[in-house]
Point group: C2
Chain length 327, copies 2
Protein backbone atom coordinates (compact mmCIF):
# COMPACT_ATOMS: atom_id res chain seq x y z
CA UNK A 1 0.00 0.00 0.00
CA UNK A 2 1.11 3.54 -0.76
CA UNK A 3 0.90 6.49 1.61
CA UNK A 4 -1.59 8.02 -0.83
CA UNK A 5 -3.93 5.05 -0.34
CA UNK A 6 -4.39 5.59 3.41
CA UNK A 7 -7.78 6.85 4.56
CA UNK A 8 -7.34 10.21 6.28
CA UNK A 9 -6.78 11.44 8.88
CA UNK A 10 -4.03 8.89 9.48
CA UNK A 11 -1.31 8.91 12.11
CA UNK A 12 1.94 8.07 10.37
CA UNK A 13 5.55 7.56 11.44
CA UNK A 14 8.53 7.59 9.13
CA UNK A 15 10.12 4.21 9.89
CA UNK A 16 13.67 5.33 9.10
CA UNK A 17 13.46 8.43 11.31
CA UNK A 18 11.86 6.45 14.13
CA UNK A 19 14.63 3.88 13.89
CA UNK A 20 17.30 6.60 13.84
CA UNK A 21 15.76 8.22 16.93
CA UNK A 22 15.68 4.91 18.79
CA UNK A 23 19.31 4.20 17.90
CA UNK A 24 20.52 7.71 18.73
CA UNK A 25 19.03 7.50 22.21
CA UNK A 26 20.37 3.97 22.76
CA UNK A 27 23.85 5.14 21.83
CA UNK A 28 23.62 8.02 24.31
CA UNK A 29 21.94 6.04 27.10
CA UNK A 30 22.62 2.33 26.61
CA UNK A 31 20.78 -0.45 28.39
CA UNK A 32 19.52 0.35 31.86
CA UNK A 33 20.62 4.00 31.59
CA UNK A 34 17.32 4.53 29.72
CA UNK A 35 13.95 3.52 31.17
CA UNK A 36 11.73 4.38 28.15
CA UNK A 37 8.45 6.08 29.04
CA UNK A 38 5.65 4.41 27.09
CA UNK A 39 3.09 7.16 27.72
CA UNK A 40 4.34 9.02 24.64
CA UNK A 41 3.65 6.18 22.19
CA UNK A 42 1.28 3.81 24.08
CA UNK A 43 2.34 0.93 21.86
CA UNK A 44 3.69 -2.44 23.01
CA UNK A 45 5.01 -2.98 19.47
CA UNK A 46 7.18 0.11 19.78
CA UNK A 47 8.18 -0.85 23.32
CA UNK A 48 9.40 -4.19 21.94
CA UNK A 49 11.72 -2.30 19.58
CA UNK A 50 13.09 -0.37 22.55
CA UNK A 51 13.54 -3.64 24.47
CA UNK A 52 15.34 -5.19 21.49
CA UNK A 53 17.83 -2.32 21.70
CA UNK A 54 18.63 -3.28 25.28
CA UNK A 55 16.14 -1.28 27.35
CA UNK A 56 14.23 -3.88 29.37
CA UNK A 57 12.92 -1.58 32.11
CA UNK A 58 9.98 0.69 31.30
CA UNK A 59 8.22 3.73 32.71
CA UNK A 60 4.41 4.01 32.68
CA UNK A 61 1.89 6.70 33.60
CA UNK A 62 -1.24 4.50 33.90
CA UNK A 63 -2.21 1.11 35.24
CA UNK A 64 -3.37 0.03 31.78
CA UNK A 65 0.09 0.76 30.37
CA UNK A 66 1.57 -1.46 33.11
CA UNK A 67 -0.93 -4.26 32.36
CA UNK A 68 -0.31 -4.06 28.63
CA UNK A 69 3.47 -4.25 28.93
CA UNK A 70 3.22 -7.18 31.36
CA UNK A 71 0.86 -9.03 29.00
CA UNK A 72 3.28 -8.39 26.12
CA UNK A 73 6.13 -10.09 27.98
CA UNK A 74 7.86 -6.82 28.84
CA UNK A 75 7.41 -7.09 32.60
CA UNK A 76 11.05 -7.42 33.71
CA UNK A 77 10.98 -4.10 35.57
CA UNK A 78 7.95 -1.82 35.26
CA UNK A 79 7.78 1.54 37.03
CA UNK A 80 4.48 3.33 37.43
CA UNK A 81 5.92 6.84 37.74
CA UNK A 82 2.67 8.11 39.14
CA UNK A 83 0.66 7.95 42.35
CA UNK A 84 -2.35 5.63 42.58
CA UNK A 85 -4.83 4.97 45.36
CA UNK A 86 -6.30 1.71 44.07
CA UNK A 87 -3.34 -0.58 43.40
CA UNK A 88 -5.14 -3.96 43.29
CA UNK A 89 -4.65 -4.37 39.53
CA UNK A 90 -0.95 -3.61 39.98
CA UNK A 91 -0.56 -6.14 42.76
CA UNK A 92 -2.08 -8.82 40.56
CA UNK A 93 0.40 -8.37 37.69
CA UNK A 94 2.85 -11.08 36.68
CA UNK A 95 5.74 -8.62 36.46
CA UNK A 96 8.23 -6.75 38.62
CA UNK A 97 6.15 -3.74 39.66
CA UNK A 98 7.44 -0.58 41.27
CA UNK A 99 5.15 2.35 42.00
CA UNK A 100 5.82 5.97 42.94
CA UNK A 101 4.63 7.09 46.38
CA UNK A 102 4.70 10.55 47.93
CA UNK A 103 2.45 10.29 51.00
CA UNK A 104 1.34 7.99 53.78
CA UNK A 105 -1.88 7.38 51.85
CA UNK A 106 -0.11 6.17 48.71
CA UNK A 107 2.26 3.98 50.75
CA UNK A 108 -0.73 2.41 52.50
CA UNK A 109 -2.45 1.97 49.13
CA UNK A 110 0.61 0.18 47.69
CA UNK A 111 0.70 -2.22 50.64
CA UNK A 112 -3.04 -2.91 50.52
CA UNK A 113 -2.99 -3.67 46.80
CA UNK A 114 -0.13 -6.15 47.03
CA UNK A 115 2.57 -3.98 45.46
CA UNK A 116 5.97 -4.92 46.82
CA UNK A 117 8.35 -2.17 45.68
CA UNK A 118 8.21 1.61 45.59
CA UNK A 119 10.21 4.69 44.70
CA UNK A 120 9.85 7.80 46.83
CA UNK A 121 8.61 10.51 44.44
CA UNK A 122 10.22 13.87 45.19
CA UNK A 123 9.05 17.30 44.05
CA UNK A 124 12.06 18.86 42.29
CA UNK A 125 10.26 22.05 41.18
CA UNK A 126 7.33 20.98 39.02
CA UNK A 127 4.11 21.66 40.96
CA UNK A 128 2.67 18.20 40.52
CA UNK A 129 3.26 15.01 42.49
CA UNK A 130 6.21 14.35 44.77
CA UNK A 131 6.92 15.00 48.44
CA UNK A 132 9.13 17.79 49.74
CA UNK A 133 12.79 16.68 49.54
CA UNK A 134 13.15 16.86 53.32
CA UNK A 135 10.17 14.51 53.79
CA UNK A 136 11.56 11.72 51.59
CA UNK A 137 13.60 9.97 54.29
CA UNK A 138 10.65 9.77 56.66
CA UNK A 139 8.40 8.33 53.93
CA UNK A 140 11.05 5.74 53.00
CA UNK A 141 11.28 4.67 56.61
CA UNK A 142 7.49 4.40 56.81
CA UNK A 143 7.36 2.35 53.60
CA UNK A 144 10.01 -0.07 54.86
CA UNK A 145 8.15 -0.43 58.16
CA UNK A 146 5.10 -1.43 56.16
CA UNK A 147 7.09 -4.17 54.45
CA UNK A 148 7.67 -2.43 51.13
CA UNK A 149 10.98 -2.53 49.32
CA UNK A 150 12.24 1.01 48.70
CA UNK A 151 14.37 1.01 45.57
CA UNK A 152 15.30 4.70 45.67
CA UNK A 153 13.86 7.99 44.48
CA UNK A 154 12.34 9.60 41.43
CA UNK A 155 11.80 13.26 40.61
CA UNK A 156 10.64 14.63 37.29
CA UNK A 157 12.00 18.01 36.23
CA UNK A 158 9.14 18.43 33.75
CA UNK A 159 9.08 22.21 34.12
CA UNK A 160 12.53 22.34 32.50
CA UNK A 161 11.92 20.15 29.43
CA UNK A 162 11.08 23.14 27.22
CA UNK A 163 13.80 25.59 28.32
CA UNK A 164 15.17 26.63 24.93
CA UNK A 165 18.76 27.46 25.88
CA UNK A 166 20.76 24.31 26.48
CA UNK A 167 23.11 25.84 29.06
CA UNK A 168 20.20 27.29 31.04
CA UNK A 169 18.38 23.98 30.82
CA UNK A 170 21.46 22.16 32.08
CA UNK A 171 21.96 24.62 34.94
CA UNK A 172 18.35 24.47 36.08
CA UNK A 173 18.40 20.67 35.82
CA UNK A 174 21.45 20.53 38.10
CA UNK A 175 19.64 22.66 40.68
CA UNK A 176 16.55 20.45 40.49
CA UNK A 177 18.64 17.30 40.75
CA UNK A 178 20.45 18.65 43.82
CA UNK A 179 17.07 18.38 45.56
CA UNK A 180 16.73 14.79 44.39
CA UNK A 181 20.27 13.94 45.54
CA UNK A 182 19.49 15.33 48.98
CA UNK A 183 16.38 13.16 49.17
CA UNK A 184 18.29 10.15 47.86
CA UNK A 185 20.86 10.51 50.64
CA UNK A 186 18.05 10.13 53.15
CA UNK A 187 16.18 7.38 51.27
CA UNK A 188 18.93 5.09 50.03
CA UNK A 189 18.48 2.46 47.35
CA UNK A 190 20.05 2.00 43.92
CA UNK A 191 17.62 3.95 41.78
CA UNK A 192 17.56 7.66 41.00
CA UNK A 193 14.98 7.88 38.24
CA UNK A 194 14.37 11.22 36.51
CA UNK A 195 14.68 13.15 33.29
CA UNK A 196 12.98 13.19 29.94
CA UNK A 197 13.69 13.85 26.29
CA UNK A 198 14.54 17.49 27.00
CA UNK A 199 17.15 16.69 29.67
CA UNK A 200 18.35 13.26 28.56
CA UNK A 201 21.95 14.48 28.19
CA UNK A 202 22.04 17.30 30.74
CA UNK A 203 20.74 15.34 33.71
CA UNK A 204 23.95 14.02 35.32
CA UNK A 205 22.36 12.74 38.51
CA UNK A 206 19.75 10.24 37.40
CA UNK A 207 20.84 6.61 37.23
CA UNK A 208 18.10 6.13 34.62
CA UNK A 209 16.32 8.58 32.30
CA UNK A 210 12.54 8.33 31.77
CA UNK A 211 12.47 9.66 28.20
CA UNK A 212 9.62 8.81 25.81
CA UNK A 213 8.99 11.59 23.28
CA UNK A 214 12.39 11.13 21.60
CA UNK A 215 11.10 8.17 19.57
CA UNK A 216 8.41 10.08 17.65
CA UNK A 217 8.99 13.76 18.59
CA UNK A 218 6.75 16.80 18.05
CA UNK A 219 7.08 20.48 17.10
CA UNK A 220 7.63 21.54 20.73
CA UNK A 221 10.64 19.24 21.24
CA UNK A 222 11.89 19.94 17.71
CA UNK A 223 12.63 23.53 18.81
CA UNK A 224 15.32 22.33 21.25
CA UNK A 225 17.81 21.19 18.61
CA UNK A 226 18.07 17.66 19.99
CA UNK A 227 19.52 14.85 17.83
CA UNK A 228 16.04 13.38 17.29
CA UNK A 229 13.88 14.14 14.27
CA UNK A 230 10.14 14.54 13.91
CA UNK A 231 9.11 11.06 12.81
CA UNK A 232 5.40 11.47 13.48
CA UNK A 233 2.80 13.32 11.42
CA UNK A 234 -0.85 13.31 10.57
CA UNK A 235 -1.63 12.65 6.95
CA UNK A 236 -4.59 14.75 5.86
CA UNK A 237 -6.56 15.40 2.71
CA UNK A 238 -7.48 18.89 1.55
CA UNK A 239 -11.28 18.78 1.42
CA UNK A 240 -12.00 22.43 0.63
CA UNK A 241 -10.05 25.33 -0.82
CA UNK A 242 -10.77 29.00 -1.43
CA UNK A 243 -8.46 31.79 -2.62
CA UNK A 244 -7.71 32.84 0.98
CA UNK A 245 -7.41 29.52 2.79
CA UNK A 246 -7.69 25.74 2.57
CA UNK A 247 -9.11 23.08 4.87
CA UNK A 248 -7.75 19.58 5.58
CA UNK A 249 -9.44 16.76 7.48
CA UNK A 250 -7.15 16.77 10.54
CA UNK A 251 -8.84 18.33 13.55
CA UNK A 252 -9.13 18.51 17.32
CA UNK A 253 -9.96 14.82 17.61
CA UNK A 254 -6.75 13.83 15.84
CA UNK A 255 -4.40 16.21 17.67
CA UNK A 256 -3.45 17.02 21.25
CA UNK A 257 -4.04 20.78 21.43
CA UNK A 258 -2.60 21.79 24.83
CA UNK A 259 0.64 22.98 23.17
CA UNK A 260 -1.32 24.92 20.54
CA UNK A 261 -1.85 24.48 16.84
CA UNK A 262 -0.03 21.92 14.70
CA UNK A 263 2.25 22.99 11.86
CA UNK A 264 1.96 22.48 8.09
CA UNK A 265 5.07 23.03 5.97
CA UNK A 266 5.00 26.28 3.96
CA UNK A 267 1.70 27.24 5.54
CA UNK A 268 0.18 29.28 8.32
CA UNK A 269 -2.27 27.31 10.46
CA UNK A 270 -5.31 29.46 11.34
CA UNK A 271 -7.24 27.19 13.68
CA UNK A 272 -8.55 23.68 14.20
CA UNK A 273 -12.15 22.48 14.49
CA UNK A 274 -13.30 19.02 15.52
CA UNK A 275 -12.45 17.48 12.13
CA UNK A 276 -10.71 20.34 10.30
CA UNK A 277 -7.57 22.41 10.16
CA UNK A 278 -7.88 25.74 8.33
CA UNK A 279 -4.63 27.08 6.90
CA UNK A 280 -3.23 29.43 4.29
CA UNK A 281 -0.34 28.44 2.12
CA UNK A 282 2.41 30.12 0.12
CA UNK A 283 1.60 27.89 -2.86
CA UNK A 284 -1.86 27.25 -4.33
CA UNK A 285 -3.63 24.33 -2.64
CA UNK A 286 -5.86 21.93 -4.57
CA UNK A 287 -8.80 19.91 -3.24
CA UNK A 288 -7.73 16.28 -2.93
CA UNK A 289 -4.08 17.13 -2.22
CA UNK A 290 -2.43 15.36 0.72
CA UNK A 291 -0.77 17.38 3.49
CA UNK A 292 1.44 16.48 6.42
CA UNK A 293 0.30 18.00 9.71
CA UNK A 294 2.96 18.08 12.44
CA UNK A 295 1.56 17.74 15.96
CA UNK A 296 2.63 20.15 18.70
CA UNK A 297 2.50 17.52 21.46
CA UNK A 298 3.04 13.86 20.74
CA UNK A 299 1.48 12.20 23.81
CA UNK A 300 -2.13 13.44 23.67
CA UNK A 301 -2.02 13.20 19.87
CA UNK A 302 -1.16 9.50 19.81
CA UNK A 303 -3.81 8.81 22.48
CA UNK A 304 -6.56 9.68 19.97
CA UNK A 305 -5.50 7.01 17.48
CA UNK A 306 -5.86 3.25 17.13
CA UNK A 307 -2.65 2.76 15.18
CA UNK A 308 0.48 4.42 13.84
CA UNK A 309 1.10 3.58 10.19
CA UNK A 310 4.78 3.04 9.37
CA UNK A 311 6.11 4.34 6.06
CA UNK A 312 9.35 4.09 4.14
CA UNK A 313 9.24 6.94 1.69
CA UNK A 314 5.81 6.61 0.10
CA UNK A 315 5.38 2.93 0.92
CA UNK A 316 3.31 1.79 3.93
CA UNK A 317 5.40 -0.98 5.46
CA UNK A 318 3.51 -1.81 8.64
CA UNK A 319 1.72 -0.44 11.62
CA UNK A 320 2.18 -0.03 15.35
CA UNK A 321 -1.10 -0.66 17.19
CA UNK A 322 -1.69 1.97 19.89
CA UNK A 323 -2.85 -0.69 22.35
CA UNK A 324 -2.17 1.00 25.69
CA UNK A 325 -4.89 3.68 25.54
CA UNK A 326 -7.37 4.32 28.30
CA UNK A 327 -6.87 3.57 31.97
CA UNK B 1 -22.27 0.32 41.84
CA UNK B 2 -21.63 3.68 43.49
CA UNK B 3 -19.94 6.65 41.86
CA UNK B 4 -17.16 6.24 44.45
CA UNK B 5 -16.43 2.72 43.13
CA UNK B 6 -15.56 3.84 39.59
CA UNK B 7 -11.92 3.60 38.57
CA UNK B 8 -10.65 7.07 37.71
CA UNK B 9 -10.42 9.02 35.51
CA UNK B 10 -14.01 8.25 34.50
CA UNK B 11 -16.24 10.14 32.10
CA UNK B 12 -19.60 10.54 33.79
CA UNK B 13 -22.98 12.02 32.84
CA UNK B 14 -25.73 12.89 35.27
CA UNK B 15 -28.66 10.93 33.84
CA UNK B 16 -31.32 13.35 35.07
CA UNK B 17 -29.57 16.41 33.64
CA UNK B 18 -28.90 14.64 30.35
CA UNK B 19 -32.56 13.68 30.14
CA UNK B 20 -33.66 17.22 30.97
CA UNK B 21 -31.36 18.62 28.26
CA UNK B 22 -32.73 16.18 25.67
CA UNK B 23 -36.32 17.06 26.58
CA UNK B 24 -35.73 20.81 26.67
CA UNK B 25 -34.29 20.75 23.15
CA UNK B 26 -37.07 18.49 21.87
CA UNK B 27 -39.65 20.89 23.25
CA UNK B 28 -37.97 23.83 21.51
CA UNK B 29 -37.23 22.00 18.24
CA UNK B 30 -39.59 19.04 17.89
CA UNK B 31 -39.16 16.20 15.41
CA UNK B 32 -37.46 17.13 12.15
CA UNK B 33 -36.73 20.69 13.33
CA UNK B 34 -33.71 19.16 15.08
CA UNK B 35 -31.11 17.07 13.25
CA UNK B 36 -28.93 16.08 16.23
CA UNK B 37 -25.20 16.21 15.58
CA UNK B 38 -23.61 13.03 16.92
CA UNK B 39 -20.03 14.34 16.80
CA UNK B 40 -20.44 15.79 20.31
CA UNK B 41 -21.30 12.46 21.98
CA UNK B 42 -20.20 9.78 19.46
CA UNK B 43 -22.61 7.28 21.00
CA UNK B 44 -25.30 5.32 19.17
CA UNK B 45 -26.93 4.63 22.56
CA UNK B 46 -27.39 8.36 23.11
CA UNK B 47 -28.52 8.82 19.51
CA UNK B 48 -31.22 6.23 20.13
CA UNK B 49 -32.53 8.36 22.98
CA UNK B 50 -32.67 11.33 20.64
CA UNK B 51 -34.49 9.21 18.05
CA UNK B 52 -36.98 8.03 20.68
CA UNK B 53 -37.83 11.69 21.29
CA UNK B 54 -38.75 12.08 17.63
CA UNK B 55 -35.50 13.10 15.95
CA UNK B 56 -34.92 10.47 13.27
CA UNK B 57 -32.51 12.46 11.07
CA UNK B 58 -28.92 12.84 12.22
CA UNK B 59 -25.87 14.96 11.46
CA UNK B 60 -22.38 13.42 11.34
CA UNK B 61 -18.85 14.75 10.93
CA UNK B 62 -17.09 11.51 9.93
CA UNK B 63 -17.72 8.45 7.80
CA UNK B 64 -17.41 6.20 10.82
CA UNK B 65 -20.20 8.09 12.57
CA UNK B 66 -22.38 7.52 9.47
CA UNK B 67 -21.52 3.81 9.41
CA UNK B 68 -22.20 3.38 13.11
CA UNK B 69 -25.62 5.04 12.99
CA UNK B 70 -26.60 3.00 9.94
CA UNK B 71 -25.52 -0.23 11.66
CA UNK B 72 -27.52 0.76 14.75
CA UNK B 73 -30.71 1.07 12.70
CA UNK B 74 -30.67 4.86 12.73
CA UNK B 75 -30.19 5.30 8.99
CA UNK B 76 -33.49 6.97 8.05
CA UNK B 77 -31.77 10.21 7.02
CA UNK B 78 -28.06 10.68 7.67
CA UNK B 79 -26.25 13.88 6.74
CA UNK B 80 -22.47 13.97 6.57
CA UNK B 81 -22.09 17.70 7.17
CA UNK B 82 -18.55 17.62 5.91
CA UNK B 83 -16.65 17.29 2.65
CA UNK B 84 -15.07 13.97 1.72
CA UNK B 85 -13.02 12.89 -1.27
CA UNK B 86 -13.31 9.13 -0.87
CA UNK B 87 -17.02 8.37 -0.57
CA UNK B 88 -17.00 4.65 -1.36
CA UNK B 89 -17.85 3.62 2.22
CA UNK B 90 -20.75 6.08 2.18
CA UNK B 91 -22.10 4.76 -1.11
CA UNK B 92 -22.11 1.25 0.33
CA UNK B 93 -24.29 2.13 3.36
CA UNK B 94 -27.76 0.72 3.84
CA UNK B 95 -29.19 4.12 4.79
CA UNK B 96 -30.39 7.38 3.28
CA UNK B 97 -27.11 9.22 2.85
CA UNK B 98 -26.67 12.91 2.10
CA UNK B 99 -23.24 14.50 1.94
CA UNK B 100 -22.11 18.13 1.92
CA UNK B 101 -20.33 19.33 -1.24
CA UNK B 102 -18.70 22.68 -1.93
CA UNK B 103 -16.65 22.12 -5.09
CA UNK B 104 -16.55 20.30 -8.39
CA UNK B 105 -14.12 17.83 -6.84
CA UNK B 106 -16.43 16.89 -3.97
CA UNK B 107 -19.42 16.58 -6.34
CA UNK B 108 -17.42 14.28 -8.57
CA UNK B 109 -16.28 12.30 -5.49
CA UNK B 110 -19.90 11.86 -4.33
CA UNK B 111 -20.91 10.54 -7.75
CA UNK B 112 -17.94 8.19 -8.03
CA UNK B 113 -18.57 6.68 -4.57
CA UNK B 114 -22.22 5.96 -5.23
CA UNK B 115 -23.69 8.71 -3.03
CA UNK B 116 -27.06 9.81 -4.40
CA UNK B 117 -27.96 12.99 -2.51
CA UNK B 118 -26.08 16.13 -1.53
CA UNK B 119 -26.47 19.50 0.16
CA UNK B 120 -24.58 22.47 -1.19
CA UNK B 121 -22.37 23.65 1.67
CA UNK B 122 -22.18 27.46 1.82
CA UNK B 123 -19.62 29.58 3.65
CA UNK B 124 -21.65 31.89 5.91
CA UNK B 125 -18.66 33.52 7.62
CA UNK B 126 -16.68 30.75 9.30
CA UNK B 127 -13.41 30.28 7.39
CA UNK B 128 -13.76 26.56 6.91
CA UNK B 129 -15.66 24.56 4.31
CA UNK B 130 -18.44 25.90 2.09
CA UNK B 131 -18.56 27.63 -1.27
CA UNK B 132 -19.12 31.36 -1.74
CA UNK B 133 -22.90 32.07 -1.59
CA UNK B 134 -22.89 33.26 -5.19
CA UNK B 135 -21.33 29.98 -6.37
CA UNK B 136 -23.97 27.73 -4.80
CA UNK B 137 -26.45 27.81 -7.72
CA UNK B 138 -23.80 26.82 -10.23
CA UNK B 139 -22.64 23.91 -8.06
CA UNK B 140 -26.24 22.71 -7.60
CA UNK B 141 -26.71 22.74 -11.34
CA UNK B 142 -23.50 20.79 -11.81
CA UNK B 143 -24.51 18.22 -9.18
CA UNK B 144 -27.89 17.69 -10.80
CA UNK B 145 -26.23 17.28 -14.20
CA UNK B 146 -24.12 14.53 -12.66
CA UNK B 147 -27.26 12.73 -11.54
CA UNK B 148 -27.16 13.71 -7.88
CA UNK B 149 -30.24 14.75 -5.95
CA UNK B 150 -29.74 18.22 -4.45
CA UNK B 151 -31.80 18.48 -1.28
CA UNK B 152 -30.91 22.09 -0.48
CA UNK B 153 -28.18 23.95 1.35
CA UNK B 154 -26.27 23.91 4.59
CA UNK B 155 -24.13 26.60 6.21
CA UNK B 156 -22.66 26.45 9.68
CA UNK B 157 -22.36 29.73 11.59
CA UNK B 158 -19.79 28.18 13.92
CA UNK B 159 -17.94 31.47 14.43
CA UNK B 160 -21.03 32.81 16.24
CA UNK B 161 -21.67 29.94 18.67
CA UNK B 162 -19.67 31.57 21.45
CA UNK B 163 -20.86 35.20 21.12
CA UNK B 164 -21.77 35.93 24.74
CA UNK B 165 -24.51 38.54 24.23
CA UNK B 166 -27.70 36.91 23.02
CA UNK B 167 -28.92 39.91 21.01
CA UNK B 168 -25.56 40.27 19.27
CA UNK B 169 -25.51 36.53 18.59
CA UNK B 170 -29.00 36.70 17.13
CA UNK B 171 -28.14 39.70 14.96
CA UNK B 172 -24.97 38.16 13.61
CA UNK B 173 -26.79 34.88 12.99
CA UNK B 174 -29.41 36.73 10.91
CA UNK B 175 -26.66 38.30 8.80
CA UNK B 176 -24.98 34.93 8.29
CA UNK B 177 -28.28 33.26 7.43
CA UNK B 178 -29.07 35.99 4.87
CA UNK B 179 -26.12 34.57 2.92
CA UNK B 180 -27.55 31.08 3.19
CA UNK B 181 -31.00 32.27 2.09
CA UNK B 182 -29.47 33.89 -0.96
CA UNK B 183 -27.73 30.64 -1.84
CA UNK B 184 -30.89 28.65 -1.17
CA UNK B 185 -32.83 30.79 -3.61
CA UNK B 186 -30.37 29.74 -6.32
CA UNK B 187 -30.10 26.10 -5.25
CA UNK B 188 -33.67 25.12 -4.40
CA UNK B 189 -34.66 22.03 -2.44
CA UNK B 190 -36.45 21.59 0.86
CA UNK B 191 -33.53 21.62 3.26
CA UNK B 192 -31.80 24.59 4.87
CA UNK B 193 -29.56 22.92 7.46
CA UNK B 194 -27.58 25.09 9.88
CA UNK B 195 -27.16 26.13 13.47
CA UNK B 196 -25.84 24.61 16.62
CA UNK B 197 -26.37 24.64 20.36
CA UNK B 198 -25.38 28.32 20.58
CA UNK B 199 -27.90 29.47 17.96
CA UNK B 200 -30.62 26.83 18.29
CA UNK B 201 -33.26 29.46 19.14
CA UNK B 202 -31.88 32.51 17.34
CA UNK B 203 -31.47 30.92 13.92
CA UNK B 204 -34.82 31.66 12.24
CA UNK B 205 -33.82 30.58 8.74
CA UNK B 206 -32.74 26.96 9.08
CA UNK B 207 -35.41 24.33 8.47
CA UNK B 208 -33.36 22.05 10.74
CA UNK B 209 -30.79 22.77 13.45
CA UNK B 210 -27.60 20.67 13.69
CA UNK B 211 -27.11 20.94 17.47
CA UNK B 212 -25.14 18.34 19.41
CA UNK B 213 -23.45 19.83 22.48
CA UNK B 214 -26.77 20.64 24.21
CA UNK B 215 -27.12 17.02 25.40
CA UNK B 216 -23.95 16.95 27.55
CA UNK B 217 -22.71 20.57 27.55
CA UNK B 218 -19.36 22.02 28.65
CA UNK B 219 -17.99 25.09 30.45
CA UNK B 220 -17.77 27.10 27.20
CA UNK B 221 -21.45 26.64 26.34
CA UNK B 222 -22.45 27.02 30.00
CA UNK B 223 -21.37 30.67 29.81
CA UNK B 224 -24.16 31.46 27.32
CA UNK B 225 -27.02 31.03 29.78
CA UNK B 226 -28.82 28.46 27.63
CA UNK B 227 -31.54 26.24 29.16
CA UNK B 228 -29.19 23.23 29.13
CA UNK B 229 -27.11 22.17 32.10
CA UNK B 230 -23.64 20.69 32.34
CA UNK B 231 -24.40 16.99 32.54
CA UNK B 232 -20.89 15.75 31.77
CA UNK B 233 -17.86 15.67 34.04
CA UNK B 234 -14.69 13.75 34.65
CA UNK B 235 -14.51 11.99 37.96
CA UNK B 236 -10.99 12.15 39.33
CA UNK B 237 -9.12 11.05 42.44
CA UNK B 238 -6.77 13.34 44.32
CA UNK B 239 -3.47 11.44 44.19
CA UNK B 240 -1.19 14.04 45.76
CA UNK B 241 -1.65 17.08 47.96
CA UNK B 242 0.68 19.74 49.38
CA UNK B 243 -0.14 22.92 51.31
CA UNK B 244 -0.11 25.00 48.11
CA UNK B 245 -1.81 22.72 45.59
CA UNK B 246 -3.34 19.32 44.91
CA UNK B 247 -3.18 16.93 41.97
CA UNK B 248 -5.97 14.75 40.56
CA UNK B 249 -5.68 12.00 37.95
CA UNK B 250 -7.51 13.78 35.11
CA UNK B 251 -5.13 15.02 32.46
CA UNK B 252 -4.58 15.92 28.83
CA UNK B 253 -5.53 12.44 27.64
CA UNK B 254 -8.94 12.68 29.30
CA UNK B 255 -9.79 16.25 28.22
CA UNK B 256 -10.06 18.21 24.99
CA UNK B 257 -7.77 21.19 25.65
CA UNK B 258 -8.38 23.52 22.68
CA UNK B 259 -10.78 25.66 24.76
CA UNK B 260 -8.30 25.78 27.64
CA UNK B 261 -8.25 24.29 31.10
CA UNK B 262 -11.16 22.46 32.69
CA UNK B 263 -12.86 23.77 35.83
CA UNK B 264 -13.05 22.32 39.36
CA UNK B 265 -15.68 23.75 41.73
CA UNK B 266 -14.22 25.99 44.42
CA UNK B 267 -10.75 25.66 42.92
CA UNK B 268 -8.30 27.34 40.61
CA UNK B 269 -6.93 25.02 37.94
CA UNK B 270 -3.21 25.65 37.40
CA UNK B 271 -2.41 23.35 34.48
CA UNK B 272 -2.85 19.87 33.08
CA UNK B 273 -0.22 17.24 32.33
CA UNK B 274 -0.75 13.99 30.45
CA UNK B 275 -2.42 12.28 33.42
CA UNK B 276 -2.72 15.11 35.97
CA UNK B 277 -4.54 18.31 36.77
CA UNK B 278 -2.83 20.57 39.31
CA UNK B 279 -5.17 22.91 41.20
CA UNK B 280 -5.46 24.95 44.37
CA UNK B 281 -8.60 24.95 46.41
CA UNK B 282 -10.38 27.18 48.91
CA UNK B 283 -10.86 24.20 51.24
CA UNK B 284 -8.18 21.70 52.31
CA UNK B 285 -7.88 18.78 49.88
CA UNK B 286 -7.14 15.27 51.07
CA UNK B 287 -5.40 12.46 49.12
CA UNK B 288 -8.01 9.94 48.05
CA UNK B 289 -10.80 12.53 47.77
CA UNK B 290 -12.90 12.47 44.60
CA UNK B 291 -13.28 15.62 42.47
CA UNK B 292 -15.48 16.56 39.53
CA UNK B 293 -13.58 18.09 36.65
CA UNK B 294 -15.73 20.04 34.17
CA UNK B 295 -14.44 19.92 30.58
CA UNK B 296 -14.11 23.11 28.55
CA UNK B 297 -15.05 21.45 25.25
CA UNK B 298 -17.28 18.41 25.13
CA UNK B 299 -16.50 16.98 21.67
CA UNK B 300 -12.74 16.34 21.88
CA UNK B 301 -13.16 15.28 25.52
CA UNK B 302 -15.65 12.51 24.76
CA UNK B 303 -13.49 11.32 21.86
CA UNK B 304 -10.79 10.19 24.34
CA UNK B 305 -13.12 7.81 26.21
CA UNK B 306 -14.55 4.35 25.64
CA UNK B 307 -17.73 4.98 27.62
CA UNK B 308 -19.80 7.54 29.49
CA UNK B 309 -20.97 6.26 32.87
CA UNK B 310 -24.50 7.32 33.75
CA UNK B 311 -25.26 8.26 37.35
CA UNK B 312 -28.36 9.13 39.33
CA UNK B 313 -27.10 10.93 42.38
CA UNK B 314 -24.30 8.68 43.64
CA UNK B 315 -25.58 5.53 41.97
CA UNK B 316 -24.10 4.30 38.66
CA UNK B 317 -27.16 3.27 36.65
CA UNK B 318 -25.68 2.40 33.27
CA UNK B 319 -23.29 3.44 30.57
CA UNK B 320 -23.29 4.89 27.08
CA UNK B 321 -20.58 3.24 24.96
CA UNK B 322 -18.68 5.84 22.91
CA UNK B 323 -18.75 3.62 19.85
CA UNK B 324 -18.37 6.15 17.03
CA UNK B 325 -14.73 7.14 17.65
CA UNK B 326 -12.07 7.18 14.96
CA UNK B 327 -12.63 7.61 11.27
Amino acid sequence: MRLADLATPALVADAALLDANLRAMSAALPGARLRPHVKAHKSTALAKRQAALGHRAFTCATIREMEGLAAAGLGDDLLLANEVLDTRRLGALDARVTVAVDSEATIEAARLGGVREVLIDVNVGLPRCGCAPEAAGRLAELARKRGLGVRGVMGYEGHLMGVADRAKRAGATSEAMALLERAHADVGGDVVSAGGTGTYDTNRVATEIQAGSYALMDTAYAKLGLPFQQALFLLGTVISASPAFAVADVGLKALGMDHGNPAIDGSKVWFCSDEHVTFSSDAPVRVGERVRVWPAHVDPTVAYHERIHLVQGDEVVGELPVDLRGW
